[in-house]
Amino acid sequence: MALLHNKYVSIKGISACVPANSVKNTDNELFAPGDINAFINNVGVEELRMAEKGVCTSDLCVAAAEKLLEETQTDRNDIGIIVFVSQSPDYFFLPNTACIIQDRLKLSKETLAFDVPLGCSGYVYGLNLIASYLSAGQIKKGLLLVGDTASKIPNAKDKSSSMLFGDAGAATLLEYDEQSEGLHFHMATDGSGYKAIIVPEGGFRTRFSAASLEEYTSNEGLVRTPHSLHLDGFDVFSFGISEAPKTCKKLMEHLAITNEDIDFAVFHQANKMMNEKIRKKLGLPENKVPYSLKHFGNTSSASIPLTMVTEMRAELQQSSTRLLLCGFGVGLSWGTAYLQCSPIVVPELIEL
């Protein structure tokens, strides 16, 4: 049972960056208006930010990080670790994007830098990873970069996912803090569900070939290629409404806390219908559960920090907040964090 506590670590600031290019789902000409309206009503996504060709997740994350380092007045030599959590690296994993970012951000060469290719659960995993390094006290500060240009992964003609995923990158600065209670986590994995969210070809199991780009129509009428995202919406829905409430409850029971001890519960922005089920199962009131889904869609590992920046900025800057953060998805992988934040630095949303 992965219940973890990383003491002496606190979040110092959070920033997020999205492409300036906004695309409205009602303008989509590939699908029937009735289908689009049903999608918007149930899934809750009206518009998406889509990165232009040539704009990578790293570009969004670097812009977010630059702003955050500036507003927190951080000495770049204090950053000892940088982790890039993403499934849309600059290159096909050679080299790791985090290494390139170390140089772009002019961080010290004494910095640990590596990529973690997780998706929707990635923010919670990234927090846990950096907090684990920091809590020993040997590294002062760590920078967590998360996000994806997830809009580029589905086939445009795939109704199950092409109106769902938006692009975003976020940066979170964590530091060693002896006064801090730290971060609490519950983390879990079920690889038996790996096919629920998958790009079947292009990895080393089935190498990329010309056939990887050939379109075919699935039994459900979805147009895909073996190199595009294959989302089994039913499996994911079933997984989300069952496991997300369980992981939250498990951590809350372990810490002996109730909904009264939570100011905000920020969930991965998967789909309105799914997230509302999760909220209701936990008995959380609407005002404690913010959404960025409507204007930004599902932004993979960036969805939790993006929601914090766009929906909770004033509260995070002005008061101490007790947060429950829960990410769940591709892997299948999921996790929950509970932490208290003193007022933190939250720059305004950046558009690139």
Binding site: A196, E220, D235, S238, I241, S242
Partner: protein, 75 residues
Amino acid sequence: MDKNHFLQSFAEQFDDTDPSTITLETHFKEMEEWSSMVALMIIAMVDEQYSKKITGADLREANTIEQLFERVSSK
């Protein structure tokens, strides 16, 4: 799990279909009102009432409501 209770809960997920026309033998994916959104409602209903998970494969492979019931009740 009670088969008739399952049928009743299944039928409640439809807005415009007369519940009395839905039976255990109904090929649910051929119903006029069937859609992926109704499928999500069914998944949520089974999770809520029976604490069981319906997968995409369950929905693809079962044709009648009874077949779906058998798959769910054997979990």
